[in-house]
């Protein structure tokens, strides 16, 4: 059996060398293992020895994955009435660009989702009633925790999105 110094084989060959006590000078070279010591026993478990590590790293990648805030706009908001109850609620959005000036002429859609899957989202639109000031209505149709999604398109054509947690919408 030959262990060639090819990509993907290094760890395996290192393990094999360690197991068979192969001198270091053979590192990185093709080695005729059968000439060294004892029969080579190819354990299936070795073939998959890096699988848990790769899986773990992949999952860690998922753990690190979060939507970044790369927008050109700052968004603040008010929802009335407070506390939010089942029924119509008014959503006021204040948009400013990074220099602090009101961001006008944006097109903003609202979407409210329940925390639990299986519920239809509620859609609405926020209209500009003063420079950088937008107002829309959302009909929260059941109590519980909601997430308000603000989908926006700025006057320069760039898009932005914000998530606003609306926790504990109370029953009527």
């Amino acid at each position: 059996m030959r262990i060639a110094p090819v990509r993907g084989m290094r760890t395996k060959s290192c393990q094999a060398r360690r197991l068979l006590k192969i001198p270091n000078e053979y590192r990185g070279t093709a080695v005729q293992l059968s000439n060294l010591r004892g029969p080579v026993v190819h354990r299936p478990s070795e073939r998959f020895s890096r699988l848990p590590l790769v899986t773990f790293l992949l999952l860690l990648l998922g753990a690190c994955h979060r939507e970044g805030n790369t927008s050109k706009v700052r968004v603040s908001y008010e929802i009335t009435p407070q506390p939010v109850r089942v029924g119509q609620a008014s959503v006021a959005l204040h948009l400013k660009d990074l220099s602090g000036k009101p961001a006008s002429n944006a097109h903003i859609n609202l979407e409210a989702d329940m925390a639990h899957p299986g519920m239809a989202p509620i859609f609405g639109e926020a209209k500009e009633d003063a420079p950088g000031e937008y107002r829309g209505e959302i009909d929260f149709n059941m109590p519980g925790d909601w997430v308000l999604l603000v989908h926006g398109k700025l006057s320069d054509g760039s898009n932005f999105e914000r998530q606003i947690a609306v926790e504990g919408v109370e029953g009527k």
Binding site: P44, S45, F48, L59, L61, G62, A63, H65, R66, E67, D113, M114, A115, H116, P117, G118, M119, A120, P121, F123, M142, P143, G144, D145, V147, L149, Q163, E167, G168, G171
Partner: protein, 490 residues
């Protein structure tokens, strides 16, 4: 009837013979095919991997993620409906077992599961623990945690069954499997022998030992039952994963998937292969209790009054953390309430009927009679989410595919949800009503067996317990749903 003389055509027109799914044209041939299980497991494994990836890498909003939508709406709903309509076919198609089978080609387990652990206590604890964690961490609202639970499940079965022989994970550990075992006591189908006389003449017992190679008795070419259920002595669905290994192993083609009266196995207490007597198994009784009362707690956690109770308890206990508050609720509903209710019912039943059985064995014996009611509540709860959110899989899938840059399924149809609540609520009540009828019938039969002279006196206390559980179920069903992923302390 021997295998040689068996004629399917005659069997199909014999009104007295029970229905046998394996003798239905097409389906029967498919199920008898040796690779049928694998073929069904592969798509579920693929879906499982997609759910993990979408849960970890996809949208963080539960209604837009495949992991949460499929797990908490479609999988749970289909699971209970399939068990109600047929049998434990989700264990049959379990993708975790497929991964385990592949892993076992690489790692051979060496040990037997320790004898003191050969019971349901661990799995009952895990079952209750999962219900607790589900509420505490709002698993339904977290694609990330949902994905990790699936990963954890794969890891758990690989570790347990990588170390221990047979289907140790399925029989002694898997909380989902225990749920399926308990629910399948109500299934209309059961894997059982067709003709006991054929088994009487069988010398090889392949259904339990496995089919051995002609050349060497040590080489198993078709495994027998991994859950230690010896077909001639098997009674009912407890511990049966519907894996059909016994069907494939039986050299006489004497094992079928037969019809039966749902819950009929709860009306008698025979010695069951691999299980023993129900009435002597406190661990199984605990499973029945957690299954029944857990159905109530799980649904109660989704309605508005639970937050009133939580706020009241948090003030009473002077704590702001949700875990101890929820812990008190779970201890009350899964431990104190069942002990009190069943203790009183057992004591009254014994006193009024004159039955000589002590209180605890009486409570153990009758605990299984509550399983139909519990299953009714699980059906009502999971059925509600399944039916009202049935079509949400369409926009979520569209969105997932579009997020990969392939807009081949069109724009997500987010307004697609499912059947309106007003149509689903009568179905929920129907499930609970069926459960009540089932529990009444089982309780009545047990009372008749226990006390031939005064069966009504033995029956009434348990009937009251059933009515209380039913009333609680109906009350929860009509409460406004309120799903919060945060603990409101104020």
């Amino acid at each position: 009837m021997s295998a040689d003389s068996y004629n399917p055509a005659v069997d199909l027109i014999d009104d007295d013979a029970p229905f046998d799914l394996l003798r239905v044209t097409g389906i029967g041939a498919l199920l008898r095919w040796r690779h049928c299980r694998t073929i069904l497991q592969i798509p579920l494994l693929v879906i499982g991997v997609i759910m993990i990836l979408h849960g970890l890498l996809g949208p963080t909003l539960a209604p837009k993620n495949l992991a949460t939508t499929l797990t908490w709406l479609h999988f749970r709903g289909l699971l209970v409906l399939v068990i109600l309509a047929a049998g434990n076919f989700f264990c049959f198609a379990c993708p975790f077992v497929l991964v385990r089978n592949v892993a076992r080609k690489l790692f051979k387990p060496r040990w037997n599961w320790p004898r003191p652990l050969r019971n349901k206590w661990i799995s009952v604890g895990l079952f209750a623990g999962i219900l607790f964690v589900y509420e505490l961490f709002h698993l339904w609202s977290s694609p990330w945690w949902t994905a990790w639970i699936i990963v954890g499940y794969f890891a758990a079965i690989l570790i347990i069954d990588g170390l221990f022989k047979h289907a140790t994970f399925c029989k002694y550990v898997c909380p989902l499997g225990q749920f399926n075992f308990a629910a399948s006591l109500l299934s209309p189908l059961e894997v059982k022998v067709r003709d006991q006389q054929v088994c009487g003449g069988c010398s090889t017992k392949d259904c339990i030992r496995g089919t051995r190679a002609p050349a060497s008795d040590l080489v198993v070419i078709q495994r027998g039952c991994e859950l230690a259920l010896f077909q001639p002595l098997k009674a009912g669905n407890m511990d049966c994963t519907f894996c059909l290994d016994c069907v494939h192993a039986c050299p006489h083609d004497n094992v079928g998937i037969m019809s039966r009266m749902p819950a009929s196995e709860l009306m008698s207490d025979p010695a069951r292969s691999g299980v023993g007597f129900f009435s002597r198994r406190k661990d199984l009784a605990a499973l029945a209790i957690v299954f029944t009362f857990g159905a109530l707690v799980n649904a109660f956690g989704m309605v508005s009054p639970v937050y009133v109770v939580e706020r009241w308890l948090s003030r009473l206990m002077h704590v702001s953390d949700r875990a101890p508050v929820l812990g008190v609720i779970f201890v009350f509903f899964l431990l104190i309430e069942p002990i009190v209710l069943m203790g009183i019912a057992a004591w009254l039943s014994r006193k009024w009927s004159g039955c000589q059985r002590p209180v605890v064995p009486t409570a153990v014996r009758y605990s299984y009679a509550l399983v139909p009611l519990g299953f009714g509540m699980w059906l009502a709860h999971y059925g509600f989410h399944f039916f009202t959110g049935l079509l949400t899989i369409v926009p979520v899938t569209q969105s997932a595919v579009a997020s990969l840059g392939w807009n081949i399924l069109g724009d997500p149809l987010w307004m697609w949800t499912g059947i309106p609540v007003r149509f689903v609520q009568p179905i929920e009540l129907g499930f609970i009503g069926l459960g009540l009828i089932g529990s009444f019938l089982v309780t009545r039969r047990l009372a008749e067996d226990d006390c031939a002279e005064h069966p009504l006196r033995a029956f009434v206390p348990w009937a009251v317990v059933c009515l209380l559980i039913c009333a609680a179920s109906v009350w929860i069903t009509f409460q406004p749903m309120e799903m919060r992923a945060t603990f409101m302390m104020s």
